[in-house]
Amino acid sequence: MILSLMFFDMAYWFYLITAILYIGNWIFRRDWIGSTATVMTFIALFANTMILVARTFESGHAPFSNLYESMVLFVWAMAIGYLVMEFKYKVKVVGAVVMTLAFIAMIAASKLPYRFQSIERLNPALQSIWLEIHVFTTFIGYAGFAIAFGLSIMYLVKNRMEERGAKVSLIDSFPQSSVLDELSYKCIMWGFPFLTTGIITGAYWANNAWGTYWSWDPKETWSLITWFIYAAYLHARVTRGWRGKRAAWLSIIGFLAVIFLYWGVSFVLPGLHAYA
């Protein structure tokens, strides 16, 4: 168990450095800061991957069985998603927002009580490959929504500046609002099918384990709420009067729903889904 916790500690610091570098790149606009930031992201991602690998060997099952492990997976997916985006679209300014979010997630994971960090045996209900597929796909979805969240905030800021014709140098370096809009759409185009797959595989697992694929428990219901919000986003983009700003707000509210779904439901509401 110690190995995975050590890798977590390393990844924690690496992600902090990564976030600082991207913010530095945004403020000072030096090529070398930007390149170092990208390299650092790879290093952090490697350490992150090693947490998952070590965890798998230590526990004997897929490394997403509780809140701590799933946070590690979430950050991992965010880092990969961001790197792909940076590679295709060269938008390092976005890294300042996204990698900061990733580091915040690492902080949250590190604050979890010890019992989440220790290895626990899977109880009978959790021993199913459908569970593993369910958790995996859901968290890829969350990562997509997280990046879209960052992009939507940037969109609203940039859009405001463009409307007013103002010139704020820090925001000038943001990509154009139309680009930010399309990039957040792309992220949700990944996030939404993965979330849907997550909901459906979760239902399939529930059906195998307990005989009901849907029981309106708070976790299931909140995943549906999140789904409704992002479905609204997808339709808002093709509805007059709802493109642009309102759609961006839906993306932001959607991610707040994701946060509640992920953390709030386990700690604030009672129910079956107390673990992950």
């Binding site: 050590m6 060269k90 220790s118």
Partner: protein, 205 residues
């Protein structure tokens, strides 16, 4: 997406090899510090380790510290009123306490209940417990001791070193479970290595 805007290609700054050198050095430092400097903090709290000092209020609000009991064998038990195995264990703990009354032995039962002291008071009255009950309402100390559930018990020797860690409930009336406590009372504290060896033997036997 090409950033057509104002990113000046300023190559002012340190030359590449030095930058790479600095980066590698920083990374190495982090890795080494984590692996060698901080690895202790990842290990679970177990036999052979020094029991961390703490101070907690009892049910009357008086603060009690672990160091107040240095020189005695301390039975540190983490429990909660809502935990069924804890409730089953308590009567046997009370019996041990009464039996060993007069010897240099103390039970500190730390409750992690998030509710107020009244709930615990009720429970203590119902079970007729006479040993000190401390309240770790915020759960800080249970994190320090890295407990993963309740009940968890740490037998701490006269020097403040953890002699044994027990996860889960025990029937403390059973002599076999009391062995380490009775040994410590009779012969005094052992060395930390002996406690670690004892743990390994238990795991293999």
């Amino acid at each position: 997406m090409e950033e057509k805007q104002n990113i000046e290609n300023e190559t002012k700054g340190l030359p590449t090899p030095i930058l790479v050198g600095i980066a590698v050095a920083v990374l190495l430092v982090i890795v080494l510090v984590v692996v060698f400097g901080r690895s202790e903090k990842f290990k679970p709290v177990d036999a052979g380790m020094q029991a961390t000092e703490f101070t907690l209020p009892d049910l009357k609000g008086q603060m009690k510290s672990l160091k107040d009991y240095r020189g005695k064998v301390v039975f540190l038990n983490f429990w909660a009123t809502w935990c069924k195995p804890c409730r089953e264990e308590m009567p046997s703990m009370q019996e041990v306490y009464t039996t060993l009354m007069g010897q240099k032995f103390e039970i500190l039962a730390v409750s992690i209940d998030k509710d107020g002291a009244e709930v615990i008071e009720k429970f203590v009255k119902e079970y007729g417990l006479t040993f000190p009950i401390l309240h770790d309402r915020k759960g800080v100390i249970k994190e320090v001791y890295k407990t993963t559930g309740v009940p968890e018990t740490f037998i701490i020797d006269q020097n403040g070193v953890i002699a044994e860690k027990i996860m889960g409930p025990r029937d403390w009336r059973d002599e076999r479970n009391l062995k380490i406590i009775l040994e410590l009372l009779k012969n005094g504290p052992k060395s930390p290595e002996e406690y670690k060896k004892g743990k390994r033997q238990k795991a293999n036997g």
